[in-house]
């Protein structure tokens, strides 16, 4: 009996969302008097240390370059072997990157009930877990129960704090077999230009600056980028902005784009349509800058500035720079 946590292969440093998953597993193990085993796939020594800190009792470390991060089927086989090895009864995945895709694949194989996208620690009720998740694009939450012998939970990014337990787990090298023949092959990876220049991927960002149609055209995005740089924030946009190719599609947030829940979301020249709010209303703090007092976004914000974005945003950037000195 143990809680297994999946740490996805990732170029470079270990992802914050993976550490959130370890912290979640750590808390769950405490609640059900169990142990945490982390399944770390192609993770550096430094990454293994971070996993230990976040609360793993044992690490199964898989090092195999032929185990591609895009081959979900092979990754699921590795997780299945680890479940068997550890006699794991609950498996935790971060609901981003490969985690949200490997988790259901494994659930089908294990005949496990899956709850995808929880936002809080579970409640234990005998053999039952009661798990909370967002539904209707953030317009409600639901409590789900699952009582299968093996249970699978994926954790929405930015939902819980990373724990700091400073354990010294055994790191065991783990080499399960998997079939990579006829799998999905990665032909190339093109990194986004902004990210290459040191920009922050939107899905992981704690601070986000977002622009809408109120900015009038792509040539005006400099003020958004300047504010984002001053804060160390990622940039996002509303759907019409991405549809008009003012900004890349992966910046589109909302019901049909990415759903994010950063600590701070600054909406500039965005009206606050219900489909836009669906992707951002999980943000901890929302600031709205708009020149229309009737903009619906003001009803869904914590702080508002009524004014012209072209005047307000540069002033805000200067004020942030003063704070950061």
């Amino acid at each position: 009996m143990s809680v297994l946590v999946y740490i996805e292969p990732h170029k470079g440093n270990i992802k914050k969302t993976s550490l959130e998953a370890v912290s979640y597993a750590n808390k769950l193990a405490e609640l059900i008097s169990s142990n945490v085993t982390a399944l770390a796939i192609n993770i550096s020594d430094e990454g293994l240390k971070a996993i230990a800190n976040a609360g793993a009792d044992k690490i199964l470390s898989v090092n195999n370059e032929s185990l591609s991060a895009t081959n979900i089927k092979a990754l699921a086989e590795v997780v299945n072997s680890a479940i068997k090895e550890e006699n794991a009864t609950t498996i935790i995945f971060a609901a981003d990157g490969t985690g949200s895709s490997v988790a259901p694949y494994v659930a089908a194989k294990q005949k496990a009930g899956i709850i995808a996208g929880t936002i809080d620690f579970p409640i234990i009720d005998g053999n039952k877990l009661i798990v909370q998740k967002n539904v209707f694009s953030g317009k409600a939450t639901a409590l789900y129960s699952v009582d299968t012998a093996i249970k699978i939970i994926t954790l929405t990014p930015n939902s819980i704090q990373i724990s700091n337990t400073k354990r010294s787990p055994n790191v065991i090298s783990f080499a399960p077999t998997f079939d990579a023949a006829n799998g999905v092959v990665l032909k190339s990876f093109k990194i986004d230009e902004d990210i290459a220049k040191g920009g922050i991927p939107l899905a992981d960002a704690e601070l986000v600056v977002s622009g809408g149609r109120g900015l009038k055209g792509p040539e005006n995005w400099g003020i958004v980028e300047d504010l984002a740089h001053a804060l160390g924030a990622a940039t996002a946009c509303s759907r019409p902005v991405a549809d008009a190719d003012w900004r890349p599609h992966h910046e589109h947030v909302g019901q049909t784009g990415l759903a994010i829940r950063p600590n701070l979301y600054i909406a500039i020249g965005i009206s606050g349509a219900i489909q836009h709010l669906a992707g951002v209303n999980g943000s901890k703090t929302i600031v709205v800058i708009n020149n229309d007092p009737e903009a619906p976004f003001f009803k869904n914000a914590d702080y508002g500035i009524l004014g012209d974005a072209f005047k307000v945003v540069p002033k805000l950037t200067e004020a942030i720079k003063k704070l950061r000195i």
Binding site: H10, K73, K111, A116, S137, L143, V287, L316
Partner: protein
């Protein structure tokens, strides 16, 4: 090659969400239902484009749900699917995915193209479950998909960049924005949809329901917005720093 497109039915994006029976049941009253946008705009339209390009023989839509959902299925036929299947049952993602996998296997579909997630339950789990039940290759969140004989080429946005991928058939794909452009059904399509085949299938008993919604809680709105003068931006920065503690 035959393509299977699973479609789900969801409340219209502007629908007011409320619950009844002590917050244990979604309140259908007065709610308009639509095809989940990812299924309709991206998965279905891309499947139709492939057929029009001579790269697929047939596009079938499949829905797991009760009789009253048939108007939603007819809409998919009006957009251009050749035929439709309704599995007459209801359940969680594992149940739904099991039914879809079972039907695909028994009826020789080799490409299953789903939406990335429903805008109702936001699980993004069905596609991976279908792939797992079938033991097929799986490409989630695809933004591009093309077919060259037995090889499928795809693009996927991940980790701040774009993956270019290829896979043999059979394959399960979940569609994200970018794969195709929304099509509005025309009058001819709507007329044709009335007579297109819609087969009703009894669910397989091999796939139980594993999870249950115990209760719902409507999201709490934010407390009143604090308005700050544009001449007093320092106050905002101070509040974000010392009160909200987010910067």
């Amino acid at each position: 090659m035959k393509i299977l497109v699973p479609i789900s039915q969801v409340p219209d994006t502007t629908a007011k969400i409320s619950f009844i029976n002590n917050d244990t049941t979604f309140n259908n009253a007065g709610v308009t239902f639509i095809i989940n946008p990812y299924d309709e705009w991206y998965a279905l339209v891309r499947a139709l484009e492939l057929k029009e390009a001579g790269k697929a023989e047939k596009v079938t839509v499949i829905h797991v749900g009760p009789t009253e959902n048939e108007p939603t299925i007819r809409k998919a036929l009006a957009i251009g699917a050749d035929d439709a299947v309704r599995i007459d049952g209801d359940g969680d993602s594992s149940f739904v995915a099991g039914q879809i996998a079972d039907y695909a296997q028994k009826n020789d579909y080799s490409l299953i193209l789903l939406g990335k997630e429903t805008i109702s339950y936001n699980s993004a789990a069905t596609a991976g479950l279908v792939a797992g039940f079938l033991d097929w290759n799986f490409v989630p969140y695809a933004t591009k998909l093309d077919v060259n004989g037995n090889t499928i080429s795809l693009e996927q946005e991940m980790d701040g960049g774009v993956n270019q991928l290829s896979s043999p058939l059979p394959l399960v794909v979940s569609a994200a924005k970018g794969m195709a452009l929304q099509r509005i059904p025309n009058m001819r399509g709507i007329m044709a949809a009335r007579t297109k085949p819609l087969q009703v299938v009894t669910p397989s008993t091999d796939f139980p329901v594993y999870t249950k919604v115990e209760s719902y809680t409507p999201a709490k709105g934010r407390t009143a917005c604090v308005m700050i003068s544009e001449d007093n931006i320092d106050e905002l920065v101070d509040l974000l720093h010392t009160k909200a503690k987010v910067i």
